[in-house]
Symmetry: C2
Subunit: 227 residues, 2 copies
């Protein structure tokens, strides 16, 4: 399908969709960073303020869904535009879940705000940085339709998994050395697990981009000629 470049309203709608997704991604990235800072600094107040942001993310999800439906209904796009919009629908779901996961970290940060720190906090901060970058780069790849950039995101997931296993071993050792740390240790371990899951969502986002770009290639090879 060749888009009519004279149709400025349609272009504006697609641009609005891209911007909405970038805004949503920026918001959840900020939530990840704040949630882990709240954990590491033992800052329950920051955790509570970060939880409040989630309402905005949920609203953005609903608005973006509606925008996608509106474009589908009004414009009835085909080919790569159709693929872009249907993947946008899936991606906002991933972004919304990432917001929920950041809330999850905030809740653990509140539980853990009193009491001793864990040796693993440095690695957890590192995990948060990687998870956040995975989301940033996947969304960046999505709005540019850049499969190579998406592939780089996929490569980082292993790094995150390795860090998770390292943190797991570290916390286990601390718990075995001092069983009074078991309950708190499980909470710290679950934060690491949540960051690994955020990385999985980053992977999902990146895979969606690769599929979007490759899907277009397949279409060009005639596989979806019936569309």
């Amino acid at each position: 399908m060749i888009r009519k470049h004279t149709d400025r309203t349609y272009e504006a709608e697609l641009q609005q969709l891209r911007e909405r997704i970038l805004l949503m991604a920026g918001t959840v990235e900020e939530m990840i960073a704040r949630s882990v800072r709240a954990l590491v600094d033992g800052d329950a107040e920051l955790a509570r303020r970060t939880i409040e942001i989630d309402g905005k993310v949920n609203l953005l999800e609903r608005e973006t869904d509606e925008l996608c439906l509106l474009i589908l209904a009004k414009r009835q796009p085909l080919g790569s535009d159709l693929r872009f919009i249907t993947l946008a629908l899936k991606m906002v779901t991933d972004l919304e879940r990432i917001g929920d996961l950041a809330v999850n970290i905030c809740e653990r940060a509140i539980d853990l705000s009193q009491g001793p720190r864990f040796d693993s906090f440095a690695d957890i901060t590192r995990m948060a940085e990687i998870a956040q970058q995975m989301v940033t780069h996947a969304i960046d790849a999505f709005v540019r339709g850049d499969a190579d950039r998406a592939q780089q995101v996929l490569d980082r997931d292993d790094e995150l998994d390795e860090l998770y296993h390292h943190v797991f071993r570290q916390i286990l050792a601390q718990m075995l050395a001092d069983p009074s740390l078991v309950e708190r240790g499980i909470h710290v371990q679950s934060v690491a697990k949540v960051l690994e899951r955020i990385g999985d969502h980053g992977t999902n986002l990146a895979e969606a981009v690769v599929f979007m770009v490759n899907g277009t290639d397949i279409r060009h090879q005639g596989k979806l000629d019936s569309i």
Copy 2:
């Protein structure tokens, strides 16, 4: 939008989509049941066979996505049909993730297949039953467009959360009484957490159905008149 009832091919495509989603849901429900049976019975072989099913789920996801795209492109549906298909796209994502989570339980089942059982296995079996029913009923509500049935799913999530907290306390007590159980205990706790997350996906599925039905109502009230 009033569907032309003479268009049998279109009806057949929508029916095919419903059946594909039912098949995918049935497959992941089976995976949940088997993964927990493998854990409780210490049956590593059953866990390995269950992991193999996940490839089928991934394939079903891709095929269902393609079917949705095909219907959108060929039929350019509006109103409730458009909403149905765009939500189908989101729901297959949830179902695919549930399959991944069942694989996660299988991996823990293999780790735990040798060694002592935990007191919590009865509650974990109960959690699996609830999580599985939530998925079944949410999908059932989806194909029937039944918001009341979807609401019932939402009500069950609290029950699952309570059971999770009970299991968490129980395992913590066992670990504190016998620190040699800490590592295995964390694995059992993570299975309970995974079942809680499957429940969250059931909740997402059910919320999507409520949105689909209510969205239709909103549209009738003129909010989406621009479509």
